[in-house]
Symmetry: C2
Subunit: 106 residues, 2 copies
DNA sequence: TGCACATATGAACACATGAACATATGAAAG
DNA sequence: CTTTCATATGTTCATGTGTTCATATGTGCA
């Protein structure tokens, strides 16, 4: 490859930090428990215990994973009495998962 | 939540195996070295050494990661003489990364 | 205030994973 | 067929990650 083209390719690469963040984001999707939780929230918001019951997971495990999803800004939450209701944060989440699904279902 | 609604939600969940595969797919995107390689291939196909030079990675590391990308069917490859040229497998890859980028750049 | 319920957090453990190094395979040229 | 170049593979090691169990926080109600 020519030196000039090589340099051009290099220029088009996003900053390392951006690519790092991108990988961090996908890492969050890269666990079946978290994917299950996200999918469960596709239909409607759910509280922690509902998610745990629905997916046959421990409350602790769900809570831990929800924290990771929360930190990645993939889910929102609101309090209602003693319960915390979680929901998908935005439509990017749906879009990303749907794209992944298309690839998987080939 | 009512028992009936609970059951309905359960029905809409994709099979465990599908969700497992989905998570496995995202896991592949969840490493900055692999994301860099995929991004490098956005513009055009590249051989192993070109990728290594472009990203300042060892040949071994690139090869290992390419194998993972290959197994996940995210990249194709063809031989040309002694070199192996890799390229993105389909447009899902671009779409998924682009979606992720949108989320990251908020 | 005291108790029960819902969720969050912390620590420990088992397991997965990426990087680095050495080595093997495979193709082309002499 | 031997050498060289390009790539692939195997192994080791340090680090990261998810789950479980125990415990803490927080809310509502008697």
């Amino acid at each position: 490859m020519e030196e000039r083209e090589f340099a051009a390719l290099r220029e088009e690469m996003p900053a390392d930090e951006v690519l790092y963040d991108l990988a961090e984001l996908f890492k969050v999707f890269g666990d079946s428990t978290r994917v299950k939780i996200l999918y469960a929230l596709f239909e409607r918001e759910l509280c922690v215990q509902e998610i745990a019951d629905l997916l046959s997971l421990s409350q602790s495990s769900v809570s831990h994973q929800l924290r990771i999803l929360k930190d990645a800004k993939l889910v929102r939450f609101r309090r209602e009495g003693k319960s915390m209701y979680y929901s998908l944060d935005d439509d990017h989440v749906r879009a990303i998962i749907s794209m992944g699904m298309e690839h998987v279902e080939e």
